[in-house]
């Protein structure tokens, strides 16, 4: 539930937060444990050590012309912010305050979409009005957890009995301008 509170912060507040690295590590644990409890406790020690540096993950934006843009996104940054940091045109009319649907994105892999934390009622209310709504639509300003889940560096540290989680793949998102 701590994760949910972060998601609902406004854009401006989000940028100011200096306590972020600490929060990211905690939420990462929660998300991680809620998804796949078979991973052992040794993993959490490893990530705690690495928790202070800004880990980045790969995200691919696919625009309406089918062009793919690969970006590296620090953990804890929402998709809207990530788009703006990389000069990708994703509107954010209300700047992350859950008062519009202009940052609507579509998560291209259903499996990946299912790993994300469920949208809140407030996000769903805005999604109701989004143009071209799909089964795997989300508001970019609310997607953070998903970004944390797809951490390629984790696969290097972690294999349980030869099992490598196949959802540690790059996120593909498509957005409608």
């Amino acid at each position: 539930m701590r994760g949910m509170r972060i998601l609902q912060r406004s854009y401006g507040e989000y940028l100011q937060s200096s306590a972020m690295p600490q929060r990211q590590t905690r939420s990462f644990h929660e998300a991680f444990f809620s998804i796949n409890h078979m991973f052992s406790a040794s993993y959490s020690t490893a990530s705690e050590k690495g928790g202070e540096e800004t880990e980045k993950i790969n995200v691919i934006f696919v625009d309406k012309d089918g062009e793919e843009i690969h970006v590296k996104v620090p953990i804890g940054m929402n998709i809207l912010e990530a788009a703006h940091e990389n000069d990708i045109e994703l509107e954010g009319a209300c700047e992350g305050s859950l008062a519009c649907s202009t940052c609507h994105v579509i998560v291209m892999e259903t499996e990946y979409y299912n790993k994300l934390e469920e949208p809140t009622d407030e996000e769903n209310d805005m999604l109701d009005l989004a143009f071209g709504l799909t089964e795997t639509s989300r508001l970019g300003c609310q997607v953070i957890d998903g970004v944390r889940l797809a951490i390629p560096s984790a696969t290097r540290n972690f294999v349980v009995d030869g099992f490598v989680p196949n959802w540690f793949t790059d996120t593909k998102l498509v957005y409608y301008p």
Binding site: S10, D63, E67, I69, N86, D87, I88, E89, E91, A93, C94, E95, S97, L98, A99, C100, S101, T102, D121, E122, N124, D125, M126, D128, L129, A130, F131, L133, Y176, P177
Partner: protein, 486 residues
């Protein structure tokens, strides 16, 4: 520059040769979301685009300033993006310039390669029933402009003291907005940007019961989830919904199956109806009643106050299928009266035609083919004007949210780009320079963006003295004076 923008830049340079970099003079009439999103996308798509946005008001932003309710400040954040567009070096805003009085459409078309009409819908649908001109009956748009300090409506003076009941016809988000403003505790309104005259009137208001009347049922109500959730959550305000109104028919089930939003609204209303029965009575209690399956037949005139409304005569309705899943309300011949001293019609806006522009009076829009204005229809085929476009409500009708204009603008810019590539805009035009000369000749006191910034600063400063985000200037004189101050 990111790889994507570099690619697009190179591509546009290759194709544009002289076209994209040759000045493209654009005038957008209307500075609401449609106008600003169009300007934004046009500036990004064409290096040579030089955009002037004109508005008849001294203040920009259209309904974002004058329509969005005072208790919805997050929805107004879009103004930040619009301000950035207005401050772009190839863009200018000119307020207090009215198409039709200060200059003609034909003059604009002479000065600019491209004219985009994005002036929205400043009028209302009528019910066309007896008694509609009684005093105490307003369109919701007039009431909203009154509490939002629109300079044309500051002296509306709606009577909020003659009874405890107001009836709102319509169940869309505008209906909810006006209901909320009528019923919200005054202390909550005092710290918003609501106009001072409205706050005073509301502080003395005796309205305690608001009826939201809809022709059809809860499954067809036009309101959206966020707004409904909001009213259901207001403290000390009691919601009344008849459980019998919540019965759904197979046709209703079908409608809900096909629309996620309809389903979620119905669920919220059902929960509200179940919870409603448990609240206690209190004399100063505020009540919001959802009345379904009733259509207004005529307005009743007061015996004590001639010329003033005293109630609405409502006819019960049932729903009949109209094909393709749509259900329409049909009268049953059973009537009942609902007494009140204030009626607000929230049944939809309508655009205003101007001279020299074709207009579809039935749909209330300018006839267009995906944004290009139709000049004539020959044997069923529409021929379109070159260089004249419509965007926003004037194009699509008064539906949708602020974000809907994003797609509208995107389509608009696509049309303009196609026309550029076809070499439609080869003649040279004067653009801004010509507009300035014309306005000067006619002694029009235009308000540029820095003039708006002075109004903005003054409003914010006045607001800070009262713990409000701004205290709006509500008369033409005050607005123009602030814009011209040093």
């Amino acid at each position: 520059m990111s790889r994507r923008y570099l690619a697009r830049y190179l591509v546009s340079r290759y194709f544009s040769s002289s076209v994209s970099s040759r000045p493209l003079h654009v005038c957008i009439v209307g500075s609401g979301p449609a106008g600003f999103y169009t300007a934004d996308k046009l500036l990004k798509a064409h290096e040579g685009a030089r955009v002037d946005i004109i508005d008849r008001l001294p203040t920009p932003f259209g309904l974002v300033r004058s329509g969005v309710a005072p208790d919805h400040p997050e929805t107004k954040i879009a103004i930040n993006q619009f301000s950035r567009v207005a401050q772009h070096e190839r863009c200018s805003f000119y307020g207090n310039v009215k198409l039709g009085s200060d200059l003609l459409l034909s003059e604009l078309r002479d000065l600019y390669h491209v004219v985009v009409l994005a002036y929205g819908a400043e009028s209302d649908k009528d019910l066309g029933i007896p008694g509609e001109s009684l005093s105490g009956i307003y369109s919701a748009r007039e009431f909203v402009w009154w509490y939002n300090g629109h300079p044309d409506y500051s002296s509306l003076k709606p009577d909020l003291k003659s009874s405890d009941t107001a009836v709102i016809l319509g169940q869309g988000n505008v209906a909810l907005d006006v209901a909320r403003i009528l019923l919200r505790p005054r202390t909550e309104l005092a710290s918003t940007d609501i106009a001072r005259h409205a706050l005073s009137a509301l502080e003395e208001s005796s309205i305690r019961k608001v009826f939201l009347v809809g022709r059809r049922g809860p499954v067809q109500a036009a309101l959206t989830a966020k707004e409904l959730r909001e009213v259901l959550g207001i403290k000390n305000m009691h919601i009344r919904i008849k459980e019998t109104d919540l019965t759904v028919t197979p046709a209703d089930e079908e409608e809900m199956k096909n629309s996620r939003i309809r389903k979620r609204i119905y669920e919220l209303l059902s929960k509200a109806a179940a919870a409603a029965g448990t609240s206690e009575s209190d004399p100063d209690q505020r009540e919001l009643h959802f009345v379904f399956f009733r259509q207004p037949d005529r307005f009743l005139e007061s015996n004590e106050r001639k010329g003033h409304v005293s109630g609405v005569n409502l006819e019960k309705t049932i729903l009949e299928s109209a094909g393709s899943g749509k259900q329409l309300a049909v009268g049953t011949g059973e009537f009942e009266d609902l007494n009140c001293s204030l009626v607000l019609k929230a049944i939809g806006y309508k655009s205003v035609p101007i001279n020299g522009l074709p207009f579809d009076h039935k749909k209330g829009v300018v006839p267009n083919v995906r944004g290009r204005v139709v000049s004539q229809t020959v044997e069923g085929l529409s021929q379109t004007e070159r260089g004249l476009y419509v965007c926003g409500w004037l194009k699509r009708g008064p539906v949708g949210i602020i974000a809907t204009n994003l797609y509208c603008a995107e389509e608009m810019v696509g049309r303009i780009s196609e026309d550029i590539e076809e070499g439609v805009f080869t003649s040279s035009k004067e653009g801004s320079k010509g507009l300035m000369q014309l306005l000067e000749k006619r002694e029009v006191k235009k308000v540029d963006f820095s003039g708006w910034e002075k109004i903005d600063a003054k409003e914010k400063q006045m607001g800070s003295e009262k713990n409000k985000p701004r205290e709006k200037l509500v008369t033409w004189e005050d607005l123009l004076a602030a814009a011209a101050a040093n």
